[in-house]
């Protein structure tokens, strides 16, 4: 019983950050954490598929033939940096510095766009070399896993832009703060996913 009592005890006293001001917003942040857990399992299934199929190259090229170290290393550093700037945006938000917050968001969006551009150009090169979704099970799994992450990032860019607009229109309120906070959680999560794509897809591909 002692444990159960502990479970529902209100969070310990202390001033909560702005995004937790209203109950509705707090619930949404919690809901988003749970969504992150579901998204994690979604990527887990894609990783499992990739892990099972990555040797199934059929008649097509293998990982070594299509992965370009400079390309994926650049993408990785861009995304890592964007996660950092996104963190700075949240930091500024907590200090009430709306200008800095929006500026860091803009930087994050720009970094996101450049990440997507690099990824797209990587895909275009692959396709030009005849390595398409239809070529082999390995490539189907590769494009789907990396593409799903890319789609998430693209969605994140659109989403963050919308919130930037709302910040400009509505100022920094508990509601806009919650929205910005949620999109930052999303962004950091995508960075974590990319770390595993970097390791399991690209580095492992380089090792094979």
């Amino acid at each position: 019983m002692a444990m159960a009592d502990f479970l529902v005890k209100a969070p310990s006293a202390g001033r909560g950050p702005i995004e937790y001001t209203h109950e509705d917003d707090a619930l949404r942040i919690f809901g988003f954490w749970v969504f992150i857990a579901t998204d994690m399992v979604l990527f887990a299934s894609l990783f499992a598929t990739y892990a099972v199929l990555y040797r199934h190259v059929g008649h097509g090229p293998g990982p070594l033939q299509i992965f370009d170290v400079t390309g994926f290393a650049t993408e990785t550093f861009i995304l890592l940096t964007s996660s950092f700037t996104c963190g700075l945006s949240t930091y500024s938000m907590h200090r009430g510095q709306k200008g800095w917050m929006m500026a860091w968001m803009v930087v994050t969006i720009l970094l996101g766009i450049s990440f997507i551009s690099f990824e797209l150009s990587e895909f275009i090169t692959d396709v030009a070399q005849g390595a398409t979704l239809q070529t082999s099970a390995f490539l189907s799994a590769f494009f789907t896993l990396v593409g799903t992450h890319g789609a998430h990032v693209s969605l994140g860019i659109v989403w963050m832009t919308l919130i930037l607009i709302q910040l400009a229109i509505r100022d920094l309120t508990p509601t806009t703060a919650r929205k910005a906070f949620v999109v930052s959680l999303y962004w950091h999560f995508l960075d974590i996913v990319w770390i595993f794509i970097f390791t399991i897809v690209y580095l492992l591909g380089e090792m094979s």
């Binding site: 894609l46 199929l53 059929g58 799994a141």
Partner: protein
């Protein structure tokens, strides 16, 4: 030109089958009927304002319930057709292709469009009332979940008359379900409908997890929660972690079919077994998603009608959480015969058996909840008691199936069919019917007719045994599932005949339920107390049906069986004074967008089925735009004034 049009029409509309023409006509008649009634009685506005745009969890629950019952009818008709085809050897009632379509839609509809919405109905109607909340955590999302489910169900059902039904089984294993062996749009219908309803289910899982974790009334610790709420919590956890896997499995198969990818094809390194693996990673937990809430309902019903506290509450909770987690470690038992090696089979066989332990414990706890109680045989209790022997047999055959070497003999046979119908009907359907009878007064303020309910119960229950016990036997005799016909000489004829008779009896049972509902709406006994069963949990403290804000004052919870405790105190002459003043209540605004969004999803799905990509793109843009519009919407709730609340409460006679 004309030829092209003809060619298109013959693929678009399913031609040449009298049964489907019949369906065409009846669908049109029903649509005309509905339109006529709504227009004649000027109910369009009412329909839109009160139902299509509602975000009230109780109304959404009722809509889930209606949809689930309709789908139970559709799936049941499929079952009756199949059993009729199998009543005698070498029957020519259905052709092979038609039979294949029917068992595919039967399975798909029963699992995803009957069992799932039925549990969502119960969750929606009951959980917020049981935990003392005004709504779920995300009411708008809840409406989206419902409408996505509803239009996904429509998408799957429309395949019967347009394009052709899926025909590769409800599991839809490639390569049979792949483009090489199945060119028609049927499989696309399956994949897209499941995908769309899957998104809704996932949202429901998140919604109820957050609701239960964060919106309980003060004083209601986790270990004071009603067991139904606990079961929903456990089911939500499973939904959260299982449904993403289904999303991936379906997406990959869809990519194979539409984009020429090679995940599960037999060419260029594709591996069909990976689909089987992914499918059951979701598929096995799914079984527990639909059965755990039923367990929760039985716990409530057994305690209420035995007029006694639940025995071994802590064990009940522990076993549900154990089942939820272990259910993710057992999926390979659906393909022991895949040859994955003895190590794999042993691990998953043992993990499967372990689930039997907490399940068995629950059965004993139900028995001892009744022990030394006072059992009232009302309809919900009747179904709950009938569930116990049923589930004992179903559970036992489950353990028999989990023994990998024995499973080599049971797999894909009628033994398996009998087993999972025994747990899914005996567990889920009995549970949901018990829940429906139990909470019907809370939903509609009417008590369902007892006499007609008993007729339904006995027909359904006896029919159930007559239908499925012979199927165990048939499995042992070597009859495999999904055979559209069989020949004499195997000794199967008699048992199949008996089984079909049982199916008809269950059909009659269902008809009695329909009559009962109709009769009760017209002549049923009204529930004026709000507490017709002398209930134990908070929902019975409210009037029937509950006001749209549920609780005028959020109650303070002092222990388990919150409402029972209050009533006990009152019986002892210790009046619990509700002296706290009313406070204004924040309520979410109704919105038509969930409906519109889901229509767009339907259009998207439908155009993807026929690979009309431009239309699909337009629908997709529409979806994005409606999401963006929502993002810019800031006034999403309104406040009920104290006056309004007092007025409503006075109307209920509760001030």
């Amino acid at each position: 030109m004309l030829h092209n049009a003809e060619n298109f029409a013959s693929h678009f509309f399913v031609l040449g089958n009298p049964m489907i023409y019949g369906a065409d006509v009846s669908i049109l008649l029903v649509i005309f009927g509905i339109v006529f009634v709504l227009t004649y009685y000027k109910k369009w506005g009412w329909l839109w304002r009160e139902w299509l745009t509602t975000v009230d969890h109780k109304k959404i629950g009722i809509m889930y319930l209606i949809a689930a019952l309709l789908m139970l009818f559709r799936g049941g008709v499929d079952a009756i057709l199949m059993r009729t085809q199998l009543i005698m050897p070498n029957m020519s009632f259905l052709k092979a292709q038609h039979y294949n379509e029917i068992f595919t839609t039967h399975g798909t509809i029963m699992i995803l469009f009957m069992a799932m919405p039925f549990i969502f109905a119960m969750m929606n109607i009951v959980v917020p009332l049981q935990i003392g909340a005004r709504d779920v955590a995300f009411p708008y999302l809840n409406a989206i979940s419902f409408w996505l489910f509803f239009f996904a169900a429509m998408l799957l059902n429309i395949s019967f008359v347009i394009g052709g039904s899926p025909d590769a089984g409800w599991t839809s294993y490639p390569p049979l379900a792949g483009i090489t062996f199945d060119k028609g749009p049927g499989e696309n219908f399956y994949l897209l409908a499941l995908q769309i309803t899957g998104i809704g289910s996932m949202a429901t899982g998140i919604n109820f997890f957050v609701t239960i974790m964060k919106m309980r009334a003060p004083g209601m610790t986790l270990m004071r929660m009603p067991l139904f709420t606990w079961s929903v919590l456990a089911a939500s956890i499973i939904i959260i972690f299982a449904f993403p896997v289904l999303t991936v499995a379906l997406t990959l198969l869809l990519l194979d079919r539409l984009a020429g990818a090679h995940f599960f094809t037999i060419f260029d390194g594709g591996n069909p077994m990976m689909y089987v693996n992914l499918f059951w990673m979701w598929g096995h937990p799914e079984v527990y998603i639909v059965v755990l809430p039923a367990f929760g309902i039985f716990s409530e019903v057994v305690a209420t009608f035995s007029r006694k506290r639940t025995f071994g509450y802590a064990s009940m909770v522990a076993s549900m959480i154990a089942i939820a987690v272990i259910s993710f470690f057992t999926w390979v038992h659906h393909f022991f015969t895949m040859g994955a090696g003895p190590g794999v089979n042993s691990f998953f066989a043992v993990a499967t058996m372990i689930i039997a332990i907490p399940t068995g414990v629950k059965v004993f706890n139900w028995l001892f909840t009744m022990y030394q109680g006072r059992i009232k045989m009302h309809l919900p209790m009747l179904w709950a008691i009938a569930f116990i022997p049923n589930f004992a047999i179903g559970g036992a055959t489950g353990v028999m199936l989990s023994v990998a070497p024995a499973d080599y003999q049971y797999h894909n046979s009628y033994f398996l069919i009998a087993h999972f119908h025994q747990v899914l009907i005996g567990g889920t359907v009995f549970g949901m019917l018990a829940g429906m009878y139990y909470w019907w007064p809370k939903m509609f303020g009417i008590i369902l007719n007892e006499r007609l309910g008993r007729w339904a119960f006995w027909f359904f229950n006896i029919g159930f045994y007559v239908c499925f016990l012979p199927q165990y036997w048939l499995g042992w005799m070597g009859m495999t599932r999904r055979m559209y016909t069989y020949s004499t000489g195997m000794g199967w004829s008699l048992w199949n005949f008996i089984s079909t008779i049982g199916a008809y009896m269950m059909g009659i049972g269902f008809v009695f339920i329909v009559i009962e509902v109709g009769y009760s709406i017209l002549y049923g006994e009204r529930d004026l107390t709000g507490d017709p069963w002398d209930g134990r949990t908070l929902e019975w403290s409210l009037p029937s049906p509950a006001p749209h804000y549920n609780f005028a004052r959020i109650p303070e919870i002092a222990g388990r069986d919150a409402w029972w405790t209050i009533k006990e105190a009152r019986r002892k002459g210790d009046p619990v004074v509700e002296s706290k003043p009313f406070k204004p209540i924040h309520m979410p605004n109704d919105s038509g967008r969930p409906f519109v969004l889901s229509v767009l999803f339907f259009v998207f799905g439908f155009s993807m089925v026929f690979t009309w990509y431009p239309l699909a793109f337009v629908a997709f843009l529409g979806i994005l735009i409606s999401l963006i519009l929502r993002s810019f919407e800031y006034h999403t709730d309104h406040t009920l004034s104290v006056e309004e609340i007092r007025h409503t409460e006075e109307a209920y006679g509760r001030v």
